[in-house]
Point group: C3
Chain length 105, copies 3
């Protein structure tokens, strides 16, 4: 059986490792402790560029330079909507996308 | 020219590295040998939490702790439906999502 | 406020590291310099197989073997359409998927 759910991706970047690590932890804590959202995963890209056009990339000798971080989660539409509202301004404009998926339950 | 296809994401976790490595291999073998599914990719997240709320994360000194694994593939809707049926109970409820994409052919 | 955008994923593989690294750089340069596309991220999978069925995987001792690379970006539908046209034959048939997402602006 399948059920409609909403999947969310939030695009961050490690411009200032400390800052974003803190921001990421804060957002994960909101999703986890307050909203008990399902299926939260954080991915790190190996290269990318953002709105301001600065290219970043990783190689084996520079493991921690300014890499893209993607925070992804999915849950039923109401839970997702409440979670996005709780994240508020922590997510910069244009950095959050969502779409409907069919989840096997 | 574009054609409708279905993309699937399955969310696993390395709670027991041996077990999930085995499960992942078994599922990849089903997708690969039996269903010849297109575009199979496995990603490892750097942090996440699941239904039971235990947060996991990786840093440079703990490369192999309980990280999220995502198995992703896409193909035409019929092939995907058959592949999902073949995977059966290997996928826990609520851990598989799918949606329609437009594939450039 | 939310706005419809198109997200694109392009599936590559490091079969020949030099070649694909070059191809990837060329495609990123087109997306970045010519089309100023938003939210470009490159991910590396840890395992996968393609149309020809050769399984690939990474472990800690073989960090650079033939791994899947995903180039992802999203922007408004017109920008994405122009960017895909500019990428042209650099993307093999069946290796690009796109779908509509709702972006928080």
């Amino acid at each position: 059986m399948f059920k409609d759910m909403t999947i969310v991706r939030i695009y961050l970047r490690e411009t200032d490792r400390g800052f974003h690590k803190g921001l990421l932890k804060e957002m994960m804590s909101i999703l986890h402790d307050e909203h008990k959202v399902h299926g939260v995963t954080v991915f790190r890209g190996i290269a990318g560029f953002g709105r301001h056009g600065d290219v970043t990339s990783a190689d084996l000798l520079r493991l921690n330079v300014k890499l893209p971080l993607i925070l992804e989660f999915f849950d039923d539409p109401d839970t997702v909507e409440a979670a996005i509202q709780a994240l508020g301004d922590r997510v910069p404009p244009g950095h959050l996308v969502q779409w409907t998926v069919s989840c096997k339950i």
